[in-house]
């Protein structure tokens, strides 16, 4: 049902660019072609996968040959954005990692772009099967989904060129500053926690402006509305790269979280399958290759773990 929703994301459906008919009809066709392609070429696909993956496909046959929906917030350059050269495609580390896992277990992925705050809601509503979108795995979020962690977190502090407010982390230097953040980001409660501390020190409180994507947060600093934006260091770096005359990275801070793949709570088997596949992908060296390919810090690499609410 779902893979009929967003035809424009499925490469097969997109191949015919003249979209004249109703989309779902075309999508159904696209999905059929996709399934046919998968069914017709199982040998070659399996041949490409490591032997361990073949074993996994035998152990977890439920998703083999399927097309799953990956909900993403495609506003994070390096991790997941549309391809500026071919906007019908998504590119980034998370996209490639997800497809590598999919290849190992024998499923394909289509993408559903939602706001960051809607990632887990979309998963819980069954509108998506998996979320691989640079989302930090926290205990709080684990109430809504199970996580397979795969990456360490280094945050960067983005400020205007020259750092006029002298911000050097999520600390007292942020008192009185305006921070732009994405709705639902883990940085939000960390900054909120500064409010009583600043008060106690007799300083002005930090304020938070909530936006619904990365680009809007960056624009808030460019427009002089916000003083800082704390997010994944690679995201911060790419913003500085785009506006070298106007922005700079104040500092990188460590945040006590890991990045995780979110899967529905009621599908432990799927969670285990993804975990097993990720281990194989890491063993094959693919994970490391992808970090390098997308210009991300190899120190982000982390061996997978499961994070659940209990």
């Amino acid at each position: 049902m779902e893979r009929r929703v967003l035809p424009q994301i499925s490469h097969h459906a997109r191949r015919g660019t003249a979209r004249t008919s109703l989309p779902w009809r075309k999508v159904a066709l696209g999905a059929a072609i996709a399934l046919a392609a998968v069914a017709a070429a199982p040998l070659s696909a399996q041949a490409a996968a490591p032997a361990a993956c073949t074993a996994l496909q035998d152990k977890y046959p439920d998703w083999k040959g399927k097309t799953l929906v990956n909900a993403i917030n495609p506003h994070t350059p390096g991790y997941e954005t549309i391809d500026p050269k071919d906007p019908s495609k998504y590119i980034g580390f998370d996209i490639d990692l997800g497809e590598a896992i999919g290849e190992c277990l024998g499923f394909k992925l289509t993408y559903k772009p939602v706001t960051f705050a809607a990632l887990l809601t979309t998963l819980a509503a069954g509108q998506a099967d998996i979320v691989i979108s640079d989302i930090y795995a926290t205990k709080e979020r684990a109430k809504a989904a199970d996580f397979i962690t795969y990456s360490k977190v280094f945050d960067g502090v983005l400020v205007a060129k020259g750092n006029p407010k002298g911000i050097n982390g999520i600390n007292m230097s942020m008192c009185g500053a305006a921070a732009a953040e994405n709705t639902g980001y883990v940085e939000v409660p960390l900054i909120q926690a500064l409010v009583p501390e600043c008060k106690k020190a007799g300083k002005a409180e930090p304020t938070i402006q909530l936006y619904d994507n990365n680009a809007n947060c960056i624009q808030a600093i460019l427009a002089g509305r916000a003083d800082t934006y704390v997010n994944d260091v690679n995201t911060v770096d790419s913003a500085v790269k785009a506006y070298p005359d106007k922005l700079e990275k104040a500092i990188a801070v460590t945040i006590p979280y890991s990045v995780g793949i979110a899967v529905p709570k009621d599908k432990p088997k799927f969670r285990d399958a993804v975990l097993a596949a990720l281990i194989e992908v890491q063993k094959a060296g693919t994970h490391m290759e992808l970090l390098k390919k997308h210009g991300l810090d190899v120190n982000n690499f982390k061996e997978p773990d499961i994070l659940t609410a209990d």
């Binding site: 954005t81 549309i82 391809d83 809607a118 509503a125 069954g126 509108q127 994507n213 680009a215 913003a239």
Partner: protein
């Protein structure tokens, strides 16, 4: 600038337009269907339906669309309804548009002149025919600008579908902005694309307004070339700004030869009157009311009124305003209900079944058409969107199932009889009051009614127009022998035309008898006082 043009022509963004239009179309189409249902429920005579519709309106008009989108997309799957994103967004938009469209529809329907609705009912139109032929065509014309507004707002609102992952224009723009950092070029480009779409809606709206412009047909017959300026938004067809059109519509002198030949005043001699009275006395009863009682709250309008009218008889109802004349007439063809008493037309209790149970509005309408009670109103109540001829021919086709050819022939015949063949294609608003009332009389006569009710037919007319209408009525009474009940203030006319006058006061007949006798020699002091006041009011020659 080159970046802006690059994004403006980018197939990826242009592709988003398709989904934007899909969501908009689903929202507007679904909203229209839902809106029609809601408006129907709100206008319904069953209070429960109206209450449900009202509750729906309060909820869906009172909550933000963005929440409704998220609800349709993320909450419905939990109860097993998992719609594709485009459909979920379309559903939310439709549910959100519906109450707004319903209110527009309701305003349009209520905006149609009540008099025309009453006239349609009197002609025997069922509620469905009335809606379809009289109310909807006029309501739709007034609603088009509001619909244009609603379409533009739905198009812009469709951008909220971006929150539920529909890859429409806004979502594509934001994703593109995130991946390229070309924030402003992209948003200017998508803004311009939205502008093009909303402009297209405006053009469609103006075109539809032009198509439905009632004056357009007239212009065409006059071979008047429309100028491009007419299509521009600041130019509307309006008689106050278009002097030439106003002139063309107002000054349309009646050809003298088309007038009915001037007959000398038809006051019958005493001998003729006696003979006529004797004939009528032998005729069957056409209309009979017995102990008819009606109150509006504490106010008693009819207090046990008895009236018998025989076939071929002309009865004039006289009496001060508020004496119950109009109410009596409206009860006779059951345009109004009453509290007690009976009304029989041609021996039948119009509007009740054999057991005396009240019929549905539709069944009453059908009965009106079969029994044949025509009605002429003080305010003419012609159907404003139809030509004079169509006002007469239309009901014949819709109510009586006549073919177009037969109905047109009958309409032409009647227009000739009231001396208006030369105005057959004119719209009511381009006719004088007297001409309108003559068309209204022709319309009431068209189905050959057994009784014609005339409710102060000349009261809304300028004094110089009164005579042309009275002349038509006079000829109906004397030449055609039509049974008529006329409420009037024209004493002299009553004297000349009526066989009998009934004088009403406080909802009862306080005096009745042969017209000439009562009018020249009233017995009841109230009648005498009323007559003397009317005499004192009128100028020597004018009938009023």
């Amino acid at each position: 600038m080159s970046l802006f043009l690059h994004y403006l022509s980018m197939p990826y963004l242009l592709g988003g337009i398709e989904l934007t239009l899909e969501v908009t179309a689903l929202g507007l189409g679904g909203g229209l269907i839902l809106g029609l249902i809601l408006a129907g429920m709100q206008l319904s005579r069953f209070w429960l339906l109206a209450a449900i519709a009202r509750a729906y309106t309060v909820i869906f008009r009172g909550t933000p669309l963005i929440l409704q989108m998220v609800f349709a997309y993320d909450a419905l799957p939990h109860i097993g309804i998992k719609l594709p994103a485009v459909l979920a967004a379309g559903l939310a938009l439709a549910c959100n548009e519906a109450p707004f469209i319903a209110e527009m529809l309701r305003a349009g329907v209520l905006g149609v002149d009540r008099g025309q609705v009453t006239a349609g009912q009197a002609l025997g139109m069922t509620p469905r025919i009335l809606m379809w032929r009289v109310i909807a065509p006029q309501a739709i014309r007034t609603m088009i600008p509001a619909f244009g507004n609603e379409a533009v707002s739905a198009l812009k609102n469709s951008s909220l579908a971006s929150v539920v992952a529909v890859q429409e224009l806004t979502l594509r723009s934001t994703q593109l902005a995130s991946s390229t950092f070309d924030f402003f070029s992209i948003f200017f480009a998508s803004g311009l694309l939205y502008l093009v779409l909303t402009f297209a809606i405006s053009v469609i709206q103006l075109f539809v307004e032009w198509l439905l412009d009632l004056d357009r047909a007239k212009d065409r017959t006059k071979r008047r070339q429309r100028k491009l300026a007419d299509y521009l938004p600041w130019r509307r067809v309006d008689l106050t700004t278009k002097l030439e059109l106003a002139e063309a519509t107002v000054a349309d002198p009646e050809p003298v030869q088309a007038e009915p030949p001037d007959t000398p005043p038809l006051a019958l001699t005493r001998e003729e009157r006696t003979r006529r009275a004797a004939t009528i006395a032998r005729n069957n009863i056409a209309v009979e009311t017995k102990d008819l009682t009606k109150s509006y709250g504490a106010q008693k309008v009819l207090g046990g009124l008895d009236l018998t009218v025989r076939v071929g008889e002309v009865v004039a109802l006289l009496g001060p305003s508020g004496s119950g004349k109009s109410t009596l007439l409206r009860c006779i063809n059951h345009l109004e209900s009453w509290d007690a008493g009976t009304v029989r037309v041609g021996g039948r209790r119009l509007g009740f079944d054999d057991d005396g149970k009240l019929l549905s509005p539709r069944a009453i309408a059908n009965e009106r058409a079969t029994v044949g009670v025509g009605m002429v109103f003080q305010q003419f109540n012609l159907f404003a969107h139809l030509s004079a001829k169509e006002n007469i021919a239309g009901p014949l086709r819709w109510v009586h199932g006549m073919t177009r050819i037969d109905a047109d022939r009958r309409a032409t015949e009647l227009l000739e009889r009231v001396g208006l063949t030369h105005r057959a294609d004119a719209l009511p608003r381009h006719l004088s009051g007297g001409q309108q009332q003559r068309v209204a009389i022709a319309r009431a006569l068209a189905p050959n009614p057994s009784v014609l009710l005339l409710d102060e037919p000349t009261s809304a007319l300028d004094p110089e127009l009164v005579n042309e209408v009275l002349e038509v009525i006079r000829r109906l009474a004397i030449d055609d022998g039509l049974t008529m009940i006329i409420s009037t203030h024209q004493i002299r006319f009553a004297d000349e035309v009526a066989d009998r006058v009934a004088f009403l006061s406080g909802g009862a007949i306080i005096e009745e008898g042969p017209a000439h006798e009562v009018l020249t020699n009233p017995r009841n002091p109230l009648t005498a006082r009323f007559l003397s006041v009317m005499e004192a009011d009128k100028t020597p020659e004018a009938v009023r």
